[in-house]
């Protein structure tokens, strides 16, 4: 008896040890890939952030201490990029989320022909952002003779708008088209969430005398809580990385109004070849995004 029991324990231990070994072997490829393509480049970025590195002179990388960071804190363009990135995020996230939720509610019914709308609302998402950005650049053209939206405004008897050529409206124009492009994806997530709310809850609500609006606030929204948290989280992270739209549509202008942090990193690192300085901006960007994500997680948990 005792022997058998002991044998069993030993066997279990052996199993555990070999399982652990197997586990390490299984995660090995993932770890190697992460290390090669994420961890190592990140560490290099941090290292280069403390150097004067002209990208054409990899043979002349000079350690410069905190110089890049000191310069950065005095750099007007950097702070404008921070401001623009936050402005974009703060506006696009609620706008896009509400838009996606509204679309999802519109097409969640099982009426005939709804699938056409579902495909239509989702289609901007499957189109490359570069293509979408070029199309919108044409639509936003500031001359009523060529720009679709301005032609519309003029025909309605309104003044034409500068859109991308006016520092006051350029970022808002990008926010609008980004939400239009991105909402389809979140709409799909919301649709899945809506299907997870059981019809009995709506039935019970209507028996208790709740109208459409009340059942939205007391049944739909609470039922979607987790989905909304997830959607907001990924939209914030995506929004912080804004690059393609300013790159294609405005080159960061006019008057710095659409220069975002990621665009600024690209511009400094590759266009102006200030690689060390770009790495310093990237390091700060990393800190901002990580603290935002952690902060949001904390708020959600506390909730």
């Amino acid at each position: 008896m005792i022997r058998r029991k002991g044998g069993f324990v030993v066997q279990k231990l052996v199993n555990k040890a070999s399982e652990r070994k197997a586990a390490y072997i299984f995660i090995f490829p993932a770890v190697v890939l992460l290390a090669a393509f994420l961890i190592y480049p990140s560490l290099q970025t941090i290292r280069y952030a403390f150097t004067d590195y002209n990208i054409m002179r990899p043979d002349r990388i000079v350690f410069c201490g905190l110089n890049n960071f000191i310069e950065l804190f005095r750099d007007k363009d950097f702070w404008i990029a921070v401001k623009n990135t936050l402005y974009f995020t703060v506006l696009v996230v609620p706008f896009q989320t509400v838009l996606a939720l509204a679309l999802a509610l519109l097409i969640s019914s099982r009426r005939k022909g709804v699938s056409i709308f579902r495909a239509a609302y989702f289609s901007p998402q499957v189109t490359s952002m570069v293509v979408v950005a070029i199309l919108w650049t044409v639509m936003y053209n500031s001359s009523p003779d060529s720009g679709l939206l301005n032609a519309l405004l003029v025909n309605l008897g309104l003044e034409p708008c500068g859109f991308l050529n006016d520092p006051d409206t350029a970022m808002n124009s990008i926010i609008f088209m980004s939400a239009w492009q991105g909402a389809g994806y979140q709409m799909m997530i919301f649709l899945a969430g809506l299907q997870g709310i059981s019809p009995e809850q709506y039935e019970a609500a209507s028996i208790d005398g709740a109208g459409k609006i009340a059942s939205f606030f007391y049944v739909t929204l609470p039922g979607l809580k987790n989905v909304i948290q997830y959607v907001v989280m990924i939209t914030v992270i995506q929004a912080m990385k804004l690059f393609t739209q300013p790159y294609v549509m405005t080159k960061g202008g006019p008057q710095n109004s659409t220069r975002t942090l990621v665009y600024y990193i690209y511009e400094q690192g590759f266009q102006k070849r200030n690689f060390g300085y770009a790495c310093a901006v990237a390091a700060i960007f990393f800190v901002i995004v990580i603290s935002l994500s952690l902060g949001m997680k904390k708020i959600i948990k506390a909730d």
């Binding site: 197997a22 299984f26 002209n54 054409m56 053209n141 266009q271």
Partner: protein, 430 residues
């Protein structure tokens, strides 16, 4: 046991898969023992791609057993995509033997010792056959660092019907080229019925520096000093600010669009345009119904200097080259009289060798003769400074800021300061 084997194998496959293609350096000698010379150049229109295939075959037949020429066509998109790839190759020390670079970038690569001097690749008589404009653009610190087969120029295209209707005469010789005031008055007269008076290249990028620098030069200044070490007092000089103000008046008064549609002039929506020499072929081929002409680049009102843009992509030899003799043979082949001529013909651009014009007689006739004349007599290459990438980005930004309401002096001061800062940081102590 077998589980572990499978896991190890899987891991090995995945990891090796991830690294395939990395760490592979350029092949410099092939299996037959021939020296391999690799060329990188932007992918181009079909006629040029076909030229490359034909010429590579010809070269490899000629040098069988000695040299093998290869070319990688790299998508340029806007010029930055190409440069991003070159930057990556510099970092990994994996440059091709021959690298095509845009004219104004020749100095950047030369100053950073990415490319090597080519002065001894051709004899003095041979060099004399190349245009000065092209040699100037490709010279840095007294040495030639690149050779180009084609040149470019910009002149003023006009819609004959619209100008006739408005009763506007066109200058017949370059001494009579329109002054800025005449250009402005013409644009003003021609702006009506949904047609704008003129189109000044508005690509928000390199096109701005390429074309608009001439307004600085014509007004007696330039973007940077002769040594290429400072922009202060040039880019933002009183004459420069005056040039910016003039260009801005065209935009602000509505005689040129800040956001022109594609092919605005070609489609009859702009009465004139500052357009490149390459537009001649496009207009002839794709817009046969448009009644157009071309005249000289406009000049400043007072004490003006006759001027026109120049510059095109050119081939340079990188520091990573191993077989110096082989690369020289390839360069001498690519830029021989015959090949410069056939290349220029294929791409419909003016050739850089004077002798090519004996064959390409169309350049003796209007409209192409205008561009040839400008190239030989009034051409000014873009600034030769190792800080050119900062200069061109800052200039484009400054102009867009000015066109959207920023004070010209303020915008140009900021741009000049950024250029000088870059130069002082990386090149002043060389």
């Amino acid at each position: 046991m077998s589980k572990r084997v499978v896991a190890v194998l899987l891991a090995a496959v995945m990891v090796s898969g991830a690294f395939t293609g990395c760490g592979k350096t350029k092949e410099r000698v092939n299996e037959e023992g021939e020296s391999v010379i690799t060329v990188w150049s932007p992918s181009d229109e079909p006629a040029i791609e076909e030229w490359w295939l034909r010429k590579i075959e010809e070269f490899n037949r000629l040098y069988e057993g000695e040299i093998e020429l290869r070319r990688e066509a790299i998508v340029r998109a806007d010029s930055y995509a190409y440069e991003d790839k070159v930057n990556a190759a510099i970092t990994s020390d994996d440059l091709p033997d021959i690298l095509y670079v845009d004219g104004p970038n020749v100095s950047i690569y030369a100053a950073n010792e990415v490319t090597i001097p080519l002065d001894d690749y051709f004899s003095k008589e041979e060099w004399d056959d190349f245009f000065d404009s092209s040699k100037q653009q490709n010279t840095y610190d007294g040495n030639i660092y690149a050779v180009g087969a084609t040149e470019s120029s910009v002149a003023l295209y006009y819609n004959k019907d619209l100008l006739d209707e408005a009763g506007i005469d066109i200058p017949e010789s370059k001494e009579d080229a329109w002054t800025w005031s005449e250009y402005y008055e013409a644009a003003k007269k021609l702006t009506k019925d949904g047609v704008v008076g003129t189109n000044i290249i508005m690509d928000k990028g390199e096109g701005l520096s390429y074309v608009l620098e001439q307004f600085w030069i014509s007004n007696g200044t330039d973007f940077v000093n002769e040594e290429g070490s400072s922009a202060k007092g040039y880019l933002n000089s009183a004459e420069g600010i005056e040039a910016a103000k003039f260009l801005n008046s065209l935009i602000q008064d509505g005689y040129a669009n800040i956001d022109p549609i594609q092919k605005e002039f070609h489609n009859g929506r702009a009465a004139t345009m500052l357009g490149g020499s390459w537009e001649v072929a496009t207009l002839e081929k794709d817009y046969p119904d448009l009644n157009w002409g071309v005249t000289y680049f406009p000049v400043a009102d007072k004490d003006s200097i006759l001027t026109s843009p120049t510059g095109d992509w050119a081939a340079s030899v990188t520091k990573n080259v191993q077989d110096m003799d082989a690369v020289k043979e390839v360069m001498r082949f690519l830029f021989s009289e015959e090949n410069v001529t056939t290349y220029a013909q294929a791409i419909s651009k003016p050739p850089t060798r004077v002798s090519s014009y004996d064959v390409l007689t169309e350049y003796n006739e209007y409209p192409r003769s205008i561009f040839k004349e400008q190239l030989m007599e009034t051409g000014h290459p873009r600034p030769r400074t190792p800080s050119y990438s900062v200069l061109t980005a800052e200039f484009a930004e400054a102009m867009l800021d000015i066109f959207t309401g920023v004070d010209p002096e303020e915008a140009l001061n900021a741009a000049a300061e950024a250029v000088d800062k870059d130069y002082n940081k990386y090149y002043a102590n060389d």
